[in-house]
Structures are given as structure tokens and as C-alpha cells.
Amino acid sequence: MGMKQTLDVINAMEADGAIGRYAIAGAVAAYNYVAPTVTEDLDILVSFENLAGTSRSGLITLAPVLAWLKRKGYEEFRKEGVVIAGWAVQFLPVADDLDAEALASAEQVDIRMGGDTVTTRVLRPEHLVAVALRVGRTKDFVRIAQFIEEKAVDIAALCAVLDRHKLRPPWSAFCVRTGIVDPCSLDQ
């Protein structure tokens, strides 16, 4: 059991049409760019656009996803996630324009684990930072600081994302709180 099997299952869901395009988000996505921190969850940002069975009312339901997983024998829940090969997977539907942009520009990566390789997508660092800022818990702020300190984010691209999604006010507040010189204000 492990991440390779978890991602194999999620790739099979996409291939079967149980979910649309997806990308790894959250703490595990951050592993692609900065020093890792222990997490219990695998966050999957997922699109349900253009899928058969999607509600016409615009309401998104995870019922078809959970039904697909149940058919494959995955029905244990841990916290808010479905346990797939040891990882509690949380499917996060695209909720706004920032999510949609993040998912559209997610990068494809081949992850080598042991002797195997699995192909998946991961959100880009600028979107991980912007989403963390939007969520705004203490641990999200710690992650943002980590991206900045480890120079793991393209500052110009980040500032553009923040501007496009009207996140400059919380970003300025974050910089003040953490004592970081606002890199977005330096290029003006």
C-alpha cells in the first residue's frame, strides 16, 4: 500500500470518467517544490465539468465518485477522506476561478517510487501559495512562508495570480504579520 497505488486508483477514476481532470493539491503537492511535512491527507482538486450525471442545477455531488470507489472496495472514511491504499483522499471540486486556473495550468509529473513510475498532475507553486492564502489557516501561512524562504515560487508569476484573483489585500496582511518584505510591492 502506498501513494503509487493511490494514484493508480485516481488515474483509473479519470480514465473511467468518474472524475474529470484532476491535480494533486495541498501538502503533498508542496512536496514537489519544498521540504516535505507529514500529512495524513491527499488533497485532489478535481473538475466535474462535462461529466455524465453531473447535476444540471450546478450543485456538485460526490455521490458518483463515492459509488465508483465503493464498487472497487474503497469505502472506509478517515476524517473527511476516503481511504485509498492507506491515504485519506479528499476530493475538492473546483470552487472558483482560482481553482479553475490552478487545475488548468497544473503540471504533469512522472513520480518514480521504488522501481515504478506513476504519472499525475501537481498544482504549480504560485497556485499552491494563492490557494493557501485563500484558505488562511495557520498551517497554510507556514507553508507560504516555506515557499518564499526556499525561493520555490516565481515571484512575478505569483503576484500576477494574486492580482488576477483579488488576493492582494490578504497577501499584504500576510506579509505584515510574518515580517516578510512584500515582494509584489518591490516591482512597482
Partner: protein, 64 residues
């Protein structure tokens, strides 16, 4: 006359420097290596997590 600057006692700057280098080394690893390392760490931390959950369950309202 100038005061001689003495390092704060105890001087742990070398320990902090090694920790920083360790974090940098970890950050430089591949995505797959980081995932494998965190999966191993999760397994090692599992007994501590279980113990914490048991403590919290004992403290939960309705439990004496």
C-alpha cells in the same frame, strides 16, 4: 574601548546550521523520494498519533 561581542550561551548556531542544511537536503530530493520518506515517517509516528487520539478520546465530553 569596545566591548567584546560574546556569543549567546549556549551557542547552538552550529546545530541550527546543520538543521537548515538538513532541510535543504530534504527539499532537494525528488518528489518520489519525499513521498516515500513521509510515508515511512507516518508509519513511525503512528503509535504516537494513536496515543494522542486515545488521550483526546478520554478527555472528550461525557467521558470521565
Amino acid at each position: 574601548m569596545t566591548m567584546k561581542k560574546t556569543p549567546p550561551y549556549p551557542d547552538i548556531s552550529d546545530i541550527l546550521a546543520r538543521k537548515t542544511e538538513g532541510r535543504r537536503e530534504l527539499a532537494r530530493r525528488s518528489f518520489g523520494e519525499k513521498i516515500a520518506a513521509m510515508e515511512t515517517l507516518r508509519e513511525r509516528l503512528a503509535p504516537l498519533k494513536r496515543a494522542r487520539e486515545e488521550r483526546q478520546a478520554r478527555k472528550a465530553p461525557g467521558k470521565s
